[in-house]
């Protein structure tokens, strides 16, 4: 995915997913790639930003046009399978926050 998401004018919605990975891959990378592809094709998906440091601490923020779109993605059968494996195998701990984006600003001097 590109580094910064190109989202429309607020309001829209964000899901902040903060996590700490367990040791080892255990199939994580393959599933993460699949979830990115699948997530990007969901109705109402606007974009995402994701990063993880060398200590295994990661933040992924996905942007959506409605709460309904977030709920649909949360309950998608393939995504639920990934969530289950995430709890069992891939994450020591995580937090999920659903937010309404009220304002945003972009700094991109080299492009515009």
């Amino acid at each position: 995915m590109s580094e910064l998401a190109e989202t429309p004018r607020p309001p829209y919605y964000a899901v902040i997913f903060t996590s700490v990975r367990t040791e080892g891959d255990n199939g994580y990378e393959k599933m993460a790639d699949e979830m990115v592809k699948l997530g990007f094709n969901q109705p109402g998906f606007l974009g995402a930003e994701s990063t993880r440091d060398i200590n295994g601490v990661g933040i992924t923020v996905s942007y959506w046009d409605s709460i309904e779109a977030i709920e649909n993605w949360k309950n998608h059968l393939c995504h639920k399978e990934a969530q289950k494996l995430g709890e069992d195998l891939w994450y020591k701990t995580f937090a999920t926050r659903v937010c309404k984006v009220e304002r945003h600003g972009l700094f991109k001097p080299s492009v515009e």
Copy 2:
């Protein structure tokens, strides 16, 4: 800072700061440490989560009890100085999003 922020029950507010660093330190680490110390002591600050990958893509999410607390921190004189250096020296690009957190969930099997 600890890996996951311990925030109260929603609603509360989040600032999602996504950025791409320029090459070299240029005084960034020192200022980042100072801003963490200063930010953590602002009225209305609830916690923060931050990570940056080896490609220089970083996401920092800070949590606040009100929009007013976010505005006060945005306009803090020392923080404004850091923001100016950020635009001039440290970031290729960045986005700031102000959000209302409506729901959150925590997964922490090893502790609770």
